[in-house]
Subunit: 856 residues, 2 copies
């Protein structure tokens, strides 16, 4: 029979898969001698068995829980769970193999009933504490396990306070709390139609089941989908002896990061609340005090905390996120885990750990979450901007954001999805707000500290967040907030600066991100480890320069369509399209040539000798003509041309190399401009890329054209490479036929995804694709992470192209080039480079290194 | 060194690849003792070497020609080529490995010059004949080899006739012909800037080169593209002793088919012209006489012809197309080849040959050109129609056609391509008209007989043709023709009945084709030989019945979208689309259900127990709404729904199973209608097909939905199969993931071609695809014959699907299911069935049998 239960003393860090992250670390900490409350863990395997059987306990689980409970009672000096005399109380918490903060439900003070509450009063010598613990337990259990709405309990508390004329929970006396407990039991009875369970073991079993079931709540599923976590893992259940931070002023509870998770600075970072239970801190209900003050108020415990932090960092060799409780001066560590951190902190911590000799540079590279790396690329407020700060709060997650204020998660989701930048403004956020946070540019809360839900989640997602802005007066009903008389209503623009904790009314100008020294150091280490080249997609000299700053080794995709727009150019382009014959088209093209040449010169110069892959004109010609509705009805010539060029499915129409073959004069002009520019810019490396090739003959003819023009322009010695984009399934399927005419092939994964899946991006996103993601038909957006079908095509193409031309240069250009999971695939399949948007270049560099290190 | 030249006596039938069809058969006939003029053949290998070297004679070729020429002179009684005394004259003709009638150039009477023409006059005793031969030779050689426009010679002839006051060439006397030869030489000299070659060997070499080069003329390329013949074969050159059919009334030339190539009847069929050269017959310049009259006029020669035909048929075991010449009573066979025939004749001949014990039934099946089989499916004039016959000509190629009269090939091509049915009307057609014939519905000529160019080509293409309508007065300048005062202008509708030789003014009603007994017999033999099942694509009971008549074994694709149209249905469908909620949609769907159920009952009943694969709704919903322009501006609701449903690329949008997942109530209704219909029709076999599946989860969920509805309707015992269409590349690439949820998979090759090639059919045909075919970027239309990329996908899908589910049923539905080349692929790749339009079912049955026989 499977071992479904492990005592903390019997587990270890490497049993994460079955004990969950929290359980494995509780076991690990126990084994390295840290003061962890005693307990045991029910495995994820038990959870899977339970859920798989439709909510039935697997054989043997109940007995194993009994055995471990008995042993725990033994180790806790013989105190029995819920014993009327000196009761052992336990907490029951979830713990999945992958950290999912706030996603799962927790029960505290389990074991209390009308008899054991008296025992607790006696053993703690604190009747009010016992009564408060009991009403908390009933409230929590009834809500989480029995499904009773928490509003009913809040109303009862409000009623009790009103009846007694007090404002704060802490002002309620023992008698009031006892009444409240009775009232809570009555609420539970009337809502569930049965008595609240008094038997401690029945309580425990119910809590375990509730944790199991909470694996499948919508909010847990949403989080997993967003983070790409499998639904099959299941969660473990940790049953731990209760220790109390709320037994008076020599008790406390707190959360501390061993280093600053926002900046990476090497100093404890966290908060504590005297005379409180841990949930009070995490939920952001009371604003806690900075950890530094604990040194003054609880000096002995602070020293123990420092020791524990040192032990944990040296054991785990990483920044730790530690929960602790002090019960009447006795210090306990309740939990540790690798601390969630901003990318900025991640690079600083990694770099410092290397300096400190704790890890090597490859380990530093491995450690950083490449998916999170993008957040370093968040914009900041333009240093030159002048603005008034409306209010200041905690700088909970760095970066600046501008958007319209919205006051609930649903609105944030709806408007955010529609493409509107929004800032979610809340008293505090809860796990139920996740879907709104995902769509918001940033988060602003009135309550909560640096470790509140909003702060943790925003940092994890790399979104700017300002927390605990006490001056904020939110009127949720009116959908507005005010600060000192200034009213901001839903839809008004605001700005937040998560690096400084500033809230600003109106939109401030932002500037692009800069690379810090830490960042530069870590990406340099990544460069030493990676095999894949990293290029950027850039169309202008400015983008090209930025790409180089971020470490791009060339331009993998320089689109040329924008070179046909602009006040001076578009009219000429239209002349070309409207010309009656080739002669007319050539005349117009001759006038466009100097513009393009100068554009190319700028880009080639900016890249200073690094290769620049220039894609010839791709979009259908109708994109350059005005909408029919905007044309003078008497302009029959233009109207009929617009009608003639209309397409039912422009994505699959006359574009790309099809244009180049139908109107060779266009591509001739572009190649001519490229060669002339390359001749002008010393040491430049231009590459000509023909889009949308599906047939070898297409590329063969365009190669002939390109070579001829290079020859005509005297560019024979420039070493200009000629290649193609692979963005049509046929080209990938029969890459061995096309490769002979290509010096390089670049997978255009945006269009390749559209054609392989028959997904028009314009028609899918916000429509059926969004629905597919919500309904779990798809687990990931194929336009963000390469789809398996597209991967299969790339695999086949690589194999076939290399089969006939082993040294052909292969890469991808498309948004997937900056997606870590896709980069890993590109590395494994043997591509030579990836190309992505300039801001994702650092991510791609890191991901490429991680892929290579993982493969070694 | 390669042997580049073979004497006729040294070759044989199986050397087609190097001797070409004509050369191989001349050799074969020589070896079986038929009276063939002596000669030799220059191989296709020599042609390839010559063309490959850019027009340089390969080493040794010149010497080999010299040796074989000397040997030929020896065998011809020592007469030397172009000898001044008793000259040997030769013809030089092309002959490719695959018959290409009219495509290549021919030179007759080679060896004549100012001296040898005197010798010819002496040896023939006919000065006029000699002079005429000489001027013909100069005219032909100057035109074909030296590139002088034939118009100049025609003008000179016209001038000579005018000067002498005669109307016909034959009225020109010897002196006139001699003058004409001098005039021709002067024309050649002034056009080419050099003397016309007098040296017989120089003439020969020039003619050989001209034949080689004619392989690459545009018209030859056009023909090859249309027929799918490779450009790499090259042509052989046949050099043959001249024999003359124009040496008086005991001389003649003719063409005869051993059986009737139009009907297949077992009787010689052909024409002869007394005192004429062969070119006169083929070019249709003089209208020849029926072969039967030769029995009366040249009885001895006719007996020899009968003997030769019997020998040829028993040797080749097939209908032969024989050219012969009688020179002063001496009978020669000049050429034989398998006779081009109508499909009607092909099946009759094949069936007769089996009855005669000459071939077995598999050989009969193998013999018939499956690509040509479609022509049996040509419509005929409705027997009930009343109409007046305007004129009668030869019934040169069967079937009836209706279209607008056009008078030149370019117009025929342009209007035909634009989708307009046209009839090409010409005095006679020439190889330069091919592109027009291809696009025309039928051909009508005033001149030419049953073996004229128009007749041969039309029969080959299966197009109706009426030839030699002497009453036709064509005014090419005015673009009209008249018959007895009735004038038909360009663009006027006419009808032709190629089975009866009738020309009718205006459009007559046509009826669909019927299967003849011969046809039924041959397809039954095909059924015995084939492995592949053949189904039809049919959406109505009427189509279903027709499909069964043509031998379909089921319906492979029954589209259901038309079931939402119609006066009673469309308003309800629109109600459904405009409904505010699911309830509203369901209410509308409930009203559509009885319609669909009765449609399904009709189809299931018509198929009488054969399987019917029903595809659920596929097109996007906007197809059921009116155009925005047609909507009342005040109907904001409808307008906004139309706008919301608009798609940029509807082909890749919300359609197929995406609709079924977004609005499950639609598919539920359809499945319900199918189950109810299946329960009503005894023994029916319905199959439910889900379109556009790309992901396994899509099909998994739709399978669940389908099974649930079947269960709800009590259809559990009906054995309804559930499957999917594979029309998205991803589904083919990862077929192993989808197969577990599919009882069958049907490749929807129309859409699969569109997505794999990124070719929107709506935007490609008539636009870039047409241009690609013209410019040889593509050799075949991928919407007619399966593209290699699509084939690669199907191959992979079959392998992967069978890998996880060996007994899965696999088929294709799409127009390719009726294309012989594609059917061959489907057989080879191991599909279970093909499904095509009802009229192509017989073709598919035959092609499937041929594929299987070829594979054995």
């Amino acid at each position: 029979m499977a071992a479904y239960v492990y005592a903390f003393a019997d587990g270890s860090s490497d049993m994460r898969d079955i004990l969950g992250g929290k359980g494995a670390e509780l076991a690990e900490m126990t084994s390295i001698g840290l003061p962890v409350p005693d307990g045991f863990t029910v495995t994820t395997e038990a959870c899977r068995a339970y859920l798989g059987a439709g909510g039935t306990w697997p054989e043997g689980l109940r007995e194993q829980v009994s055995e471990h409970l008995a042993a725990l009672e033994e180790r806790c000096g013989g105190r029995r769970l819920g014993d009327p005399q000196d009761p052992l109380l336990v907490s029951v918490r979830s713990g999945a193999p992958i950290s999912m903060p706030g996603m799962m439900d927790t029960i505290l003070n389990l074991g209390l009933n009308p008899r054991s509450v008296e025992g607790l009063a006696r053993s703690s010598g604190n009747e009010r504490f016992a009564a408060d613990s009991y009403r908390r337990f009933i409230q929590m259990y009834a809500n989480v396990v029995l499904g009773v709405s928490s509003d009913l309990f809040e109303e009862a508390i409000a009623g009790a306070k009103q009846a007694r004329g007090v404002k704060d929970d802490v002002e309620l006396d023992t008698a009031a709390l006892r009444d409240l407990a009775e009232r809570f039991l009555a609420i539970s009875r009337s809502e569930t139609g049965r008595e609240f369970p008094e038997d401690p073991r029945e309580q425990l079993d119910g809590a375990v089941e509730a944790v199991f079931s909470s694996w499948n709540t919508p909010r847990a599923r949403t989080y997993r989908r967003h983070e790409g976590i499998s639904d099959d893992l299941g969660t473990a259940v940790n049953v731990m002896q209760m220790v109390f931070g709320n037994l008076g002023d020599d008790s406390a509870t707190g959360v501390v990061f061993t280093r600053n998770p926002s900046t990476g600075e090497r100093a404890p970072f966290g908060e504590f609340l005297p005379n409180a239970q841990g949930e009070d801190v995490v939920a952001g209900i009371r604003t806690p005090r900075p950890i530094a003050e604990m040194q003054r108020d609880l000096p002995q415990s602070y020293r123990e905390l420092e020791e524990a932090m040192a032990t944990l960092e040296s054991h785990y060799r990483d920044l730790q996120d530690v929960e602790f409780t002090i019960e009447r001066g006795r210090f306990y560590v309740l939990q540790t885990r690798a601390g969630k951190r901003t990318a900025q902190a991640a690079v600083r911590v990694a770099r410092d750990l290397v300096s400190e000799g704790v890890i090597d540079q490859n380990e530093a590279v491995r450690r950083i979450n490449a998916g999170q790396f993008d957040q370093l690329m968040h914009p900041a407020i333009d240093p030159a901007a002048e603005y008034d700060v409306l209010a200041t709060g905690l700088n909970a997650s760095p970066g600046a954001a501008v958007g319209r204020a919205v006051f609930d998660a649903d609105t944030a989701e709806a408007r955010g999805r529609a493409g509107e930048p929004v800032i979610l403004v809340r008293w505090e956020t809860t796990p139920d707000d996740i879907h709104g946070v995902i769509q918001a540019q940033g988060v602003l809360t009135a309550h909560g500290g640096m470790t509140s839900h909003a702060a943790v989640v925003a940092r994890g997602m790399g979104k700017p967040c300002v927390c605990g802005v006490e001056a904020l007066r939110i009127d949720a009903g009116a959908r507005s907030f005010s600060v000192d008389g200034t009213v901001v209503s839903e839809g008004d623009e605001i700005s937040i600066d998560g690096s400084r904790g500033h809230v600003i009314s109106g939109a401030v100008p932002l500037v692009p991100p800069q690379m810090t020294d830490d960042f530069a150091a870590v990406t340099t280490w990544a460069d030493e480890a990676r095999r894949l080249g990293v290029r950027a997609n850039a169309d202008t000299p400015e983008d090209a320069r930025r790409a180089r700053e971020f470490g791009a080794q060339g331009i993998g995709l320089c689109r040329t369509e924008h070179m046909f727009f602009g006040d001076e150019r578009l009219p000429v382009m239209r002349e070309m399209i409207l010309a009656r014959d080739e002669e007319g088209r050539r005349a117009a093209l001759d006038r466009l040539l100097p513009f393009q040449q100068s554009d190319f010169e700028g880009i080639l110069a900016a890249m200073d000798g690094d290769p620049v892959t220039i894609r010839l004109l791709d979009p259908p010609l109708h994109e350059f003509l005005p909408d029919l509705e905007d044309v003078d009805p008497s302009d029959e010539r233009l109207r009929s041309r617009i009608k003639a060029l209309r397409e039912v499915n422009p994505m699959l129409g006359t574009r790309g190399c099809r244009l180049g073959l139908l109107h060779p004069e266009i591509y001739e002009m572009q190649v001519r401009a490229i060669v002339r520019a390359a001749l002008t810019v010393d040491g430049s490396k231009a590459e000509v890329m023909h889009p949308l090739v599906a047939f070898a003959t297409e590329l063969q003819r365009l190669r002939d054209l390109t070579e001829r023009v290079i020859e005509e322009e005297g560019g024979g010695d420039l070493g200009i490479l000629i290649g193609t984009m692979v963005e049509v399934p046929r080209a990938a399927l029969l890459a061995d036929r096309i490769a002979p005419y290509a010096d390089f092939m670049s997978f255009g994964t945006n269009d390749l995804t559209q054609t392989t899946l028959a997904f028009s991006r314009d028609d899918a996103e916000g429509k059926f694709l969004t629905q597919y993601l919500e309904d779990d038909v798809l687990s990931r957006n194929p336009f963000e992470t390469l789809d398996d079908g597209v991967r299969a095509l790339i695999e086949r193409a690589v194999e076939r192209a290399r089969g006939v031309k082993p040294d052909i240069k292969l890469g991808i250009c498309g948004e997937h080039g900056g997606d870590p999971d896709s980069v890993e695939f590109c590395n494994a399949v043997g591509l030579d480079y990836v190309s992505c948007s300039p801001f994702r270049v650092p991510t791609a560099r890191l991901a490429a290194a991680q892929a290579e290190l993982a493969q070694r």
